[in-house]
Assembly symmetry: C2
Homo-oligomer: 215 residues x 2
Amino acid sequence: MSDRIAVKRAVYEENDRQAALLHEIFAAKDIFVVNILGGPGAGKTSSLKQILARIKDRPVSVIEGDITSDIDTRALKDLGIEAYQIETGGDCHLNAPMIDAIVKRMSLKPKSWLFIENIGNLVCPAEFVIGEDVKILVSSTAEGADKPYKYPLAFQKAAAVILTKEDIAPYVKFDEAYFRAGVKALNPDAPVFGVNALSGEGFDAVSAWLRNARG
Amino acid sequence: MSDRIAVKRAVYEENDRQAALLHEIFAAKDIFVVNILGGPGAGKTSSLKQILARIKDRPVSVIEGDITSDIDTRALKDLGIEAYQIETGGDCHLNAPMIDAIVKRMSLKPKSWLFIENIGNLVCPAEFVIGEDVKILVSSTAEGADKPYKYPLAFQKAAAVILTKEDIAPYVKFDEAYFRAGVKALNPDAPVFGVNALSGEGFDAVSAWLRNARG
């Protein structure tokens, strides 16, 4: 085994160990954790805002992951949402040590929701668990219908898929049947919710699914 | 220095060394190499097709990078273009050793163009040179105007930016002035070409720029 592969494996193992500990901490406090994945500009933050407008039954906090900048965190704070920023400084995904470090600075409320928006990237974030109960994948019609075929791991790991920008599907010649067939082949149990994250259309179903997933 | 950082640095150094060798080989044959970056579904392949329809002065070959699948390579071959596939099997960017391995299987034509489409990812591909003369960054209006602020390295490294999906800019409420200001702050010399990669609008200017960059 090369040094590089050995180091990579050690990184995954250490991450998984720390993520399992985080999940225990969250579960003990009845905090349901949602890890939101998606490419750059898929509509992760817009989707999150629509979900937060509909999940009013319990306290909510948000962790925003970015390479650099706190644009989204400031936008959420402007809406009165308790949001915390992780800037990875170049790293292309969040990992369990980053979440561990930031939750130590947060006052985690029992019986609450914690939404974590990952780095805009369809590849690496799918490889790292960060203590979540479920992953949700946000994919936009503008990205094209071939995304499940090109980035299968992210679609395999997602408990649900939010398909954004449904309103512009005709303009970008989006083939929804091809997209849905790709998701189904990889992940037969994951629902695909077609939405418009600007108008909010479709998010009642997403929120109902989340409440049900929490159980 | 931790083992992890030492290995990461060694990976960069080995990559840079091999990329420099590749660049020498390409330059000796007067092959101009364009490394195309962009997030998933930004319109890299569609842009490439429009460029290839306009660059008819010299032979062209294409290397397509994907995590998995050869959808784009087959589409290019269907158009009669000499295209080769790299499947990284999970890696989130191309690197110089991958290019070195595939060019050994190609018959590199002197005085030609070589276009390399990188993995759909706005983060990691920006960190790895692969023997190219220039990087071009493809970013779509649908991804949102904040991309230069969130993914600065890719915008810094690009010699030119292709802004795709201009036709749907009004529907996705794209703030072009904000986008252009972000590019300008990071990379004052890089032109931004607004295009529609389905209709071909705007690609005459891109192709003229490429011919000029080649010199």
